[in-house]
């Protein structure tokens, strides 16, 4: 039967086995282990068994999913000593000859993985954005008028964490996978199966994440379902919140594994798979930015994973990593004490700060490339740009304690962290120098992508300057933990990373889908996004200066004006993003067919036919010059000659 061969293994069989895995795992704990000990008079035990069951369910669900999609097939055959797959089998695994079904399978072709990432991250973005809209609905007026406070806290937590996971994934996922191997002249990623596995982990992580709002309904101990902790999941609060935190921790651990696999894969690919002549100084900035982000993802994510494992351990096994008190307070609870509540802050932020640079570093690279293409000028200082990117990578590991300026932890070190934080504005400043210098005296072609490049410059400038206020200890003491901070990092992450992403989608859409995105809808959504975004977060700066704390469901009438403006602007932003999404879907189906190199770029991906064939290149190109060589003549078809044929090195 042909349909079984198509559907098994696929994401559909994976979903079935995942569901079975969850049921088996959870029921085993609840009924077999818990059955005898299930004491309804002991609230501690009920909670404990409930969450142990869920955790076992999530673990088996992950295994079920991986088995169901066939991720274990080749590792198993190697372990059993069967012969290595030959090239034809590899091609079949990459989706050769499959139609649309290859997008719903464990497919190793990097372009399929890229499209899967694009769709998954856009769905994540949509749900994260929905969370933002709900938050702004609640904050539209003083008083917790729309939701109960515990629901609001859950929405805040889910919005924060989901958006972070989205932004971590949405550069190195879709573009890192689709574009970068072609850009450096490789046939695929270095580890194609690892690549397929990384998107599989992200999907199952999101499935676990979806449990959060439903976990803990009717829980007798905690009030309400979900997680009350905010995305920082500080261990102290995470222990007493509802059992939804277990789903959050599991989901984020799985997503962390996914991003680490992706990062390792990308770094290896760039080191090992470059085409002849593609030296490190001929790689487009997109590649450099993604490499920087991957280094941060590979090194930083572990700290959060450790933090979350400790949280699960504190909850389920009654360890005391984050509990300091030694006597009295926890009598009868089973906790030993002797831990440190500062530990959770340090572990979280040691991940947390490199992570925010992980979010924007690819954006730096992408935006510099787009600025170069649409100005028809080489980068203003290629090595300057690398210095900027790598300077940020190195410094980003030395600044995390600025999140703890008021925590009381080693206050004598605050001077150092203030200094290192302010120092990071030097490499970031170089990015601005490169951007401005590249546009200067160029032939600026105002496509929607270029619009987003200007939007990035504007927003990240504001985000960076307000960051200076926050890096200074005395000023930070006042602003710390308030809406000013929320506005600041939204200016960097939405204004920086998201603008870069929206520009990048518009830019590479013709390569990925073979069609152009609609320009008119593009501009309308662009202006809507700018007006909505700036209105929302400038108003948030205002209420932050006035003294409004973060993550509050209810606030003093003092802040009503600013919040109303922020909410209305946020709805404009939301509507415009929906319009952008509509543009993506509409253009994917019915946009005008794109020419081979619609933007006149000189990077390698535009030399391949669209849709890009399996293994990308008939013959691996020999690269003879840098990625911004606009002076070189183009072939009559409009495809630049650069790099496709061997020749003496020019650049």
């Amino acid at each position: 039967m042909s349909w079984t061969r198509k559907l098994v293994p696929s994401y559909f069989s994976g979903a079935v086995l995942a569901a079975i895995g969850f049921i088996v795992g959870s029921q085993y704990v609840w009924r077999v282990i818990g059955g005898a000990n299930w004491d309804f008079n002991d609230p501690g035990l009920i909670g404990n068994f409930l969450e142990q069951g869920f955790l076992a369910g999530f673990v088996l669900m992950t295994f079920g999913w991986l088995i169901g999609i066939g991720a274990f097939k080749y590792p198993l055959s190697w372990m059993l000593g069967l012969k290595d797959p030959d090239h034809n089998e590899e091609l079949r695994l990459a989706g050769k000859g499959d139609g649309i079904i290859r997008y719903f399978r464990f497919t190793t072709d990097h372009k399929v993985v890229g499209i899967q990432y694009l769709v998954v991250t856009m769905i994540m973005l949509a749900f994260g954005g929905l969370g933002a809209m709900l938050i702004r609905t609640e904050l539209m007026f003083p008083g917790a008028w729309a939701f109960p406070k515990e629901t609001y806290n859950t929405i805040v937590t889910m919005h924060g964490m989901l958006m972070i996971l989205t932004v971590i994934s949405f550069f190195v996922g879709p573009f890192g996978n689709f574009v970068i191997p072609i850009m450096i002249g490789a046939r695929d990623m270095a580890f194609p199966r690892l690549n397929a596995l990384s998107i599989a982990f992200l999907i199952i992580a999101m499935a676990v994440y979806a449990f959060i709002p439903f976990m803990g309904i009717g829980d007798p101990i905690t009030t309400g379902a979900g997680v009350q902790t905010g995305w920082t999941v500080y261990g102290t609060l995470a222990d007493q919140t509802g059992i939804g935190v277990d789903a959050l921790a599991m989901a984020v651990i799985l997503a962390g594994i996914s991003s680490q696999m992706g990062a390792v894969n990308l770094i290896t690919t760039v080191i090992a798979m470059r085409a002849p002549g593609m030296s490190y100084t001929r790689m487009p900035m997109t590649v450099w930015g993604s490499i920087g982000a991957s280094i941060l993802a590979a090194l930083g994510t572990a700290s959060l994973t450790v933090d979350l494992v400790m949280i699960i351990s504190d909850r389920v096994f009654r360890t005391s990593f984050f509990f300091a008190a030694t006597a009295g307070d926890y009598a009868g609870s089973g906790y030993v004490g002797g831990g440190s509540a500062w530990l959770t802050q340090n572990l979280f932020w040691f991940f947390g700060h490199p992570e925010v640079y992980l979010l924007v570093l690819p954006a730096f690279g992408f935006v510099m490339d787009m600025a170069s293409v649409f100005s028809r000028k080489p980068l203003f200082g290629y090595k300057t740009a690398i210095l900027g990117l790598m300077g940020v990578v190195v410094l980003s590991f030395l600044v995390w304690m600025h999140h703890e300026f008021v925590s009381g932890f080693l206050p004598e070190l605050r001077g150092f962290y203030m200094a290192s934080t302010e120092l990071i504005s030097v490499p970031t400043g170089l990015i601005f120098l490169v951007l401005l210098g590249t546009m200067w005296r160029g032939r600026i072609w105002m496509t929607v992508t270029m619009g987003f490049v200007f939007a990035f410059t504007w927003s990240f400038l504001i985000g960076g300057i307000t960051g200076i206020y926050l890096s200074d200890v005395p000023a930070d003491v006042q602003l710390h933990g308030g809406m000013f901070v929320t506005a600041h990092f939204h200016y960097t992450i939405v204004g920086g990373a998201l603008m870069g992403f929206l520009g990048a989608v518009y830019y590479w859409f013709p390569k990925m889908t073979g069609r152009m995105m609609d320009e008119k809808i593009g501009w309308i959504s662009f202006w809507g996004i700018q007006i909505g975004f700036n209105g929302t977060f400038l108003a948030m700066f205002y209420v932050g200066l006035q003294g409004m704390p973060r993550r509050v469901a209810d606030y003093s009438p003092l802040f009503a004006g600013g919040n109303l403006v922020a909410s209305i602007s946020a709805f404009v932003l939301g509507a415009s993003v929906i319009l952008y999404f509509y543009n993506v879907i509409y253009s994917w189906k019915a946009g005008p067919i794109a020419e081979a190199n619609p933007w006149g770029a000189k990077t390698l991906e535009w030399t391949t036919p669209t849709p890009v064939p399996l293994e990308n290149f008939g013959e691996i190109p020999v690269v003879t010059s840098g990625p911004y060589n606009y002076a070189e003549p183009a072939t009559p078809s409009g495809v630049p000659a650069r790099g496709v044929e061997a020749g003496p090195a020019i650049g």
């Binding site: 406070k149 806290n153 009030t223 905010g230 500080y234 102290t236 609060l237 007493q240 300091a324 008190a325 030694t326 009295g328 307070d329 440190s340 509540a341 500062w342 802050q345 028809r376 000028k377 980068l379 203003f380 200082g381 703890e404 008021v406 925590s407 009381g408 932890f409 001077g415 302010e422 504005s425 030097v426 170089l430 601005f432 120098l433 200067w440 005296r441 600026i444 072609w445 200007f454 410059t457 504007w458 206020y469 890096s471 200890v473 005395p474 003491v477 006042q478 710390h480 933990g481 308030g482 006035q546 003294g547 704390p549 973060r550 509050v552 469901a553 209810d554 606030y555 003093s556 002076a631």
Partner: protein
């Protein structure tokens, strides 16, 4: 026009707009502060913080205006209508400009360091002997204040005008953060740890304490009042409290002090 010719207009715009904005800020800031853009300042720490922010604003104006003017000038002057048919000058960088850019960055950073370390030294100055000692104990979802000098406790914070206060902040359960917006006082309340903060209230009045760290369901309701009063009013209040102390509904919170502090008063 050559490069130099193009530079004139944006540089003039940069200087003029920067000066205009700085002047605007100079005249408007006090008006806005009056109108409630920032909380009414009521301590030396808050004065210090907002002074630093004001200096930063002056420093940021030329940086912000510079980037915006040059980007906008590029956009309007070098814009190609439709797809460009030719290419821009193939400039691969400018080492001299890079040098000046880096030099300017480091000069600005140095200024930030001078301001920052100076402010930090003020912030970290030890409490004078005359300081009032207040133990702040956060728990879900109230703050409790113990006046260790008098061994009384209260759910409303009473402070004395122009008398330094040393807050020692801790928490009974989860992370909280103790914040008085008008006084620029902020210290995380971390369970099991003591976090100190010294400030001198310098204006009579009623202010608010807000919790700044998400601490559970009622986080947004974790606000209490602060009253800054004269020394004599405060003395009256203290003696009242001491007389009713045994009946006070807010008993002093007993913390395992010995476990946390060694003889030198530092955390062991």
């Amino acid at each position: 026009m050559n490069s130099r010719g193009h530079l004139r207009t944006p540089i003039i715009l940069w200087v003029v707009i920067s000066i205009l904005l700085a002047a605007l800020y100079y005249f408007l800031a006090p008006v806005l502060a009056q109108a409630g853009v920032i909380p009414p300042l009521a301590s030396d720490v808050a004065d210090n913080a907002y002074q630093i922010m004001a200096i930063f604003t002056y420093l940021s104006i030329p940086v912000f205006v510079g980037v915006v003017v040059f980007a906008a000038y590029s956009l309007f002057t070098f814009r190609s209508h439709g797809r460009p048919t030719d290419i821009g000058p193939q400039i691969h960088g400018n080492t001299r400009l890079l040098g000046w850019w880096l030099a300017a960055s480091f000069v600005l950073i140095t200024v930030l360091y001078v301001i920052g370390f100076n402010g930090l030294a003020q912030l970290e100055a030890a409490a004078p002997a005359s300081a009032l000692h207040v133990r702040v104990t956060a728990q879900q979802w109230i703050f409790n204040y113990t006046y260790t000098d008098y061994n009384i406790s209260s759910s409303t914070l009473y402070l004395v005008e122009n008398q330094p206060v040393e807050f020692t902040v801790t928490s009974m359960d989860v992370h909280h953060s103790f914040w008085i917006p008008e006084m620029g006082v902020k210290a995380d309340a971390v369970p099991g740890e003591l976090n100190t903060f010294v400030a001198t209230p310098n204006k009579l009045g009623h202010y608010t304490v807000r919790c700044m760290e998400l601490c559970g369901v009622l986080h947004s309701d974790m606000n209490t009042n602060v009253v800054v009063e004269t020394a004599s009013q405060f003395g009256t209040w203290i003696s009242q409290q001491m007389s009713v102390r045994p009946a006070s509904m807010f008993a002093a919170v007993q913390l395992p002090e010995a476990a946390l502090l060694d003889a030198s008063g530092k955390r062991s």
